[in-house]
């Protein structure tokens, strides 16, 4: 863990009072930094929809098998447990997890992951979702790393829930609902791009994100423009590859 980058990340995640704050872009920063700072291989963040189901909002890796891992956690898995209990839930050896989460463990092992940590997104009594960290090698995350990851999740949660004004409950609802719908919009755009460009979903997301970063736009704004036909699918490929490639 580079201390300087860690400090930068904390500052970045605390800076949510900007006028153009966007929940999805903000949470993508969180999952990307987790992968870079903590030597984990994939990270994903799920937030609870109003019906209580967990919905994937940001992930460092968009391969279908990985997405299924997140989806599966509406039935069973560490994220669901972390969300339900408000406590960090870890498994250092998924191949020998036994009966705890049989379907989840099998799917995670299939996708190449050996260990997982799930950290609740929690502020006092509000649990709004959970952060999943996946690793391909078995073994526990060092205590210090796990504590730092929890602190990062806490700061991000405070950032999301902080009292922006007297009507903060309304603002939280407005923002989280908008983020949930933006996520759907992004998935629809990925499907459109994948089909038009004959690439997979991961490639489609990389194109979307590369274009958003290269042009300093929000992911959801680019997704919306692609769907509405204001941005051509082919334009997405015209942007040079961004310097920060998510770790696969």
């Amino acid at each position: 863990m580079g201390d300087e980058r860690l400090v930068e990340t904390f500052v970045e995640l605390a800076d949510t009072l900007t006028a153009d704050f966007d929940v999805i872009d903000f949470l993508h920063v969180l999952v990307d930094r987790c992968v870079k700072l903590f030597d984990v291989d994939a990270a994903g963040l799920l937030l609870a929809a109003p019906d209580g189901k967990l919905q994937l909002i940001a992930s460092s890796n968009d391969q279908v098998r990985v997405l299924e891992l997140f989806q599966l956690q509406n039935d069973q898995g560490p994220c669901l447990d972390a969300f339900a209990t408000g406590r960090t839930t870890s498994n250092a050896d998924l191949a020998n997890a036994g009966q705890r989460w049989p379907r989840f463990s099998a799917a995670a092992t299939d996708a190449g992951f050996a260990a997982v940590d799930a950290i609740p997104m929690r502020l006092r009594n509000d649990v709004i979702g959970a952060l999943n960290l996946f690793r391909v090698r078995p073994g526990s995350l060092p205590d210090q790393v796990l504590r730092t990851a929890c602190a990062l999740a806490d700061v991000a949660t405070i950032g999301l829930l902080q009292e922006r004004s007297i009507r903060h409950q309304e603002i939280i609802t407005e923002q989280l609902q908008r983020a949930l719908n933006s996520r759907v919009l992004i998935e629809q755009a990925k499907g459109l791009i994948a089909e038009r460009l004959h690439i997979d979903m991961d490639g489609a997301f990389a194109a979307l994100r590369g274009y958003a970063r290269g042009n300093n736009l929000k992911l959801s704004a680019v997704a919306d423009a692609v769907i509405a036909g204001r941005t051509s699918t082919y334009d997405l490929l015209g942007t040079p590859t961004p310097p920060h490639q998510p770790k696969r």
Binding site: A48, G52, Q55, T173, V184
Partner: protein, 242 residues
């Protein structure tokens, strides 16, 4: 743990039960009209308007529970601004606890004063949408300025989700059979939306039509929607223009 956020699971079922009870008591089918009336009673609102998006910049009122609801919907169309339009554009709720508050009068300089004059204190606009599929807006109003309790927010969103479901079934021309109705659409699965995007590209249609076609295919084949979506994403199934 008691939380505001993961209480939702039971509320969807509770709201469905309220609607079913209301329908049974009146001896009618579940319609958007019935949903609106149940919501007014259960959420303690003064009234509700349901507006549907018919084209890019146009919406029509589908149902109003009272005159003021209709007036508020009409006003927004007339002056070209308001919480419902913002909710539609943003794809998220716009909750206005006090239409007479200075920040809201500034935010909607034409609409807010007229709405307040017409007798509305608070307006809560809940968009009915699935990503780019923007179906309409459910607008709840109160004659007094009032905050929404967190529990009421959760229930309002559950009513909106149910209304959305009914409208999507209507668009797809599918019956809201009891079994499927209870099950809900797998809107949490990213593959459903990825498949919608792929079908939109294959048929060169918008997301709304692509979603309808996907559901119609699953219904005709007696297969779960998510199975068909997974086949599309895995490129085992393609949609061809007729």
């Amino acid at each position: 743990m008691a939380t505001t956020s993961n209480r939702g699971g039971d509320r969807g079922a509770q709201v469905r039960l309220w609607v079913a009870e209301h329908a049974a008591a009146l001896g009618v089918r579940v319609t958007v009209q019935l949903l609106c009336e149940t919501a007014v009673a259960r959420l303690g609102m003064s009234g509700i308007a349901l507006t549907l998006r018919t084209s890019l910049d146009w919406s029509e009122t589908r149902h109003c529970t009272d005159l003021l609801a209709g007036r508020l919907a009409e006003l927004q169309v007339t002056v070209g601004e308001g919480p419902c339009m913002d909710a539609q554009a943003a794809g998220g709720p716009v909750l206005v606890a006090d239409l007479d508050a200075p920040e809201n009068q500034r935010r909607w300089p034409l609409f807010a004063p007229l709405a307040f004059e017409a007798g509305a204190g608070a307006l809560f606009a809940l968009p009915l949408c699935v990503g780019a599929v923007r179906v309409g807006v459910l607008a709840l109003h109160q004659i007094r300025a009032t905050w929404l309790e967190p529990a009421t927010v959760t229930d309002s969103l559950a009513f909106a989700a149910l209304t959305l479901r009914l409208l999507l079934d209507e668009q797809a021309d599918l019956p809201s059979s009891d079994g499927e109705w209870e099950q809900g659409l797998p809107l949490h699965d990213p593959q459903l939306h990825q498949a919608t995007g792929m079908v939109a590209a294959q048929l060169n249609v918008g997301m709304r039509d692509a979603f309808v076609r996907l559901r119609a295919r699953a219904f005709a084949a007696h297969r779960p929607l998510i199975e068909v979506a997974t086949d599309v994403v895995a490129r085992r199934l393609r949609f061809e223009s007729e």
